[in-house]
């Protein structure tokens, strides 16, 4: 008998600990509903020094009621916390370290806080475990970074603690699953509690408490690009990408990230793409946030399906009315899921195309520049060739290598960059700033976003470099130099070498692809303004205030 009790204690410490912690906050609980007025006290009792805490910070949705209150706890009571989260993006996330409440962080992206974070590292106020991709971080939630406490955000809850996350589910399921099933504590802030939820996204039995926030959770329309800001150069690059990559390799399954350059591609599919007869031939299946700039292509019948990482403000009614295209719940609203969309982007798409701040002569790319610790988000997972892939597609096979009956295909990883950014800063450089950051500011390895050996194509305003076709490193470099304009790398291009590479299809200039530079004009855009997007959407798209000009 004594031995059995000891054994129980030995193997159920997490469950016992959870019960104890829940008991300590019972004073503020009515059923599963927490008193929002007492949230600071609740957090102080709930979280123990050294705890691993996941504070939901996504690319878009933020558990900001919980983060604001967590930053207000007494550092005497809660300190040395180990924060795990995708996006360290809110000012109070950084405050946690400044106040000593948190000590260590494992994360993926820090966008708006990248400067402050670098300063904290400099001052020795924060220890960075690692800067992950989203998938790596989610993976580690189930291996060695499982949270003791998860603080998440949802649209609504019912009395049983069931959560409705609506269009912006993002990574809530991944976080909650990892925490709840290893006896961690899950607390969800909600915009409201209701009797009946439109649908259940997270079962109540996985959730320990819900609290109604003082205001709806913060969310950013990160993927909204105003077509008015797309210039002729972006349109030229879009034409080159469509002819030189999408059409050449019949790319049907793909991912687009944030950016005006990819928005330009989306907006000329119904015009330029249509004139090439490519509807149904390319760009049919997407892993993609609900980009408003894709509306004209959807309405013109280009798109069969879209699975989304997150939602996008203003797109809710449009998505609900286009359930053939988007993944929606029985209530009609979007179901996004970052973990699954990342997995889809890694394994089930044939092409990733994205931009970067710097690209070196070997096509290594990085968005890390001196004094900033921004991280990666999802680009490295989508922008890499997954060697574990075993299913074939036309586009994947188009890049096949190897023989003796053991040929295998390759994912298309495309960098789309203008040779210079505004104010004379070259994008294509001899050495990445990232290369000088090893050992500094929390980087055990250079913060390379996409490694050059994964990159198959580079598209600039000057043309396309088909790096995967290069015979050797010298040819790869020469091909990149041939389209690198007047950057230091581009100044090394030699005419004869370039001619030879063009002859064998390692480099293509606009004229080789049948693209006339003079045709690169805004009149090619299927929508030239936000108002046009609204018109295309049948008035179903409702842009956020800051994007409205009427």
């Amino acid at each position: 008998m004594m031995a059995m009790l000891a054994l129980e204690g030995r193997w159920n410490t997490r469950a016992a600990g959870k019960a104890q912690r829940l008991a300590s906050i019972a004073f503020a609980l009515t059923g599963k509903v927490l008193d929002g007025e007492r949230i600071v006290e609740v957090l102080e009792r709930l979280i123990r020094p050294g705890d691993r805490v996941c504070l939901e910070g996504n690319n878009q949705k933020q558990a900001d009621f919980l983060s604001r209150n967590l930053a207000a706890v007494d550092p005497e009571r809660v300190h040395d916390m180990h924060l795990v989260l995708s996006v360290l993006g809110r000012p109070e996330h950084v405050d946690l370290f400044e106040r000593g409440i948190a000590r260590k962080v494992d994360f993926s992206f820090s966008g708006p806080q990248s400067l402050r974070l670098a300063q904290l590292v400099e001052d020795g106020r924060v220890e960075i475990g690692a800067i992950h991709t989203y998938l790596e971080l989610f993976g580690r939630y189930f291996i060695d970074l499982t949270p003791n406490v998860a603080l998440v955000a949802a649209d609504a809850a019912d009395a049983a603690g069931n959560l409705y996350t609506g269009a912006n589910t993002e990574e809530t399921p991944a976080i909650v699953e990892a925490t709840a099933f290893r006896n961690g504590i899950v607390i969800a802030q909600v915009n409201e509690t209701t009797g009946e939820l439109p649908r259940v996204d997270i079962p109540g039995s996985w959730v320990d408490a819900v609290v109604v926030a003082d205001r709806p959770y913060a969310i950013e329309p990160l993927f909204t690009r105003d077509p008015a800001e797309i210039d002729d150069v972006a349109i030229l690059m879009a034409m080159l990408a469509i002819r030189g990559v999408y059409e050449s390799h019949r790319v049907r399954r793909l991912n687009h990230g944030i950016g005006f350059d990819t928005a330009a591609i989306e907006l000329i599919l119904p015009t330029f793409g249509e004139s090439l007869g490519l509807r149904g031939e390319i760009c049919t299946h997407w892993a993609l946030n609900p980009h408003p700039t894709l509306i004209p292509a959807i309405e013109s019948g280009w798109v069969e399906s879209i699975h989304s990482f997150g939602g996008e403000l203003g797109m809710e009614r449009y998505i609900a009315a286009r359930s053939d295209v988007f993944f929606t719940g029985p209530d009609g609203s979007l179901r996004s899921n970052r973990a699954f969309a990342q997995m889809a982007g890694l394994y089930a798409t044939d092409l990733f195309i994205g931009s970067t701040l710097q690209l070196d002569r070997d096509a290594n790319s990085s968005t890390a520049t001196r004094g900033r610790i921004a991280g990666f988000g999802g680009a490295p997972n989508m922008g890499s060739d997954p060697h574990g892939r075993r299913h074939a597609s036309d586009a994947w096979l188009a890049l096949a290598r190897g023989d003796d009956g053991i040929a295998r295909g390759r994912k298309l990883v495309v960098q789309l960059v203008e040779t210079f950014r505004a104010s004379g800063v070259p994008t294509i450089v001899e050495r990445l700033d990232a290369a000088g950051m090893v050992g500094k500011a929390g980087f055990a390895i250079a913060p390379v976003m996409i490694y050059g050996d994964d990159v198959t194509h580079v598209v600039t305003e000057e043309g396309v470099a088909y790096l995967y076709r290069a015979e050797n490193v010298d040819d790869r470099r020469a091909a990149l130099a041939a389209i690198a304009g007047v950057t230091p790398v581009g100044m090394e291009r030699r005419q004869e070498r370039t001619a030879a590479l063009r002859a064998v299809g390692v480099v293509a200039y606009p004229q080789d692809l049948g693209v006339r530079r003079g045709d690169a004009r805004r009149s090619l855009l299927a929508a030239s303004s936000m108002a046009d997007l609204v018109r295309w959407s049948d008035d179903l798209y409702d842009p956020p205030a800051r994007f409205r000009s009427w």
Partner: protein, 96 residues
């Protein structure tokens, strides 16, 4: 504010005047017309200082690609080399 002048002898004269673009952020105005004398002259006024080598390389490449005789004036407000090249191509198309 910086002024950059580039000259090259020879070339086939453009036949018409062409004007496009605007002096607006990230954009530039290009005036292209038949030359008074022989050869090509490009005169740049730019609001951004310190990028003369980038300008010269961009313009030299344009003249390498097009053996034209023309008087070209550029009034720039921080356009990228890509935008400069594209506007020059567009102007040339109109002026030929």
């Amino acid at each position: 504010m910086q002024r950059i002048v580039l000259e090259r002898a020879g070339g086939t004269p453009v036949t018409k005047r062409a004007h496009l673009g605007a002096v607006a952020s990230g954009n530039l105005e290009v005036l292209c017309e038949p030359p008074a004398g022989d050869g090509a002259t490009i005169v740049v006024s730019t609001s951004v200082d310190g990028y003369e080598p980038v300008w010269r390389a961009t313009l030299e490449r344009f003249l390498e690609q097009h053996f034209i005789a023309a008087a070209i004036e550029i009034n720039d407000f921080g356009a990228t080399p890509a935008m400069v090249s594209l506007r020059l191509e567009q102007a040339l198309e109109l002026a030929r």
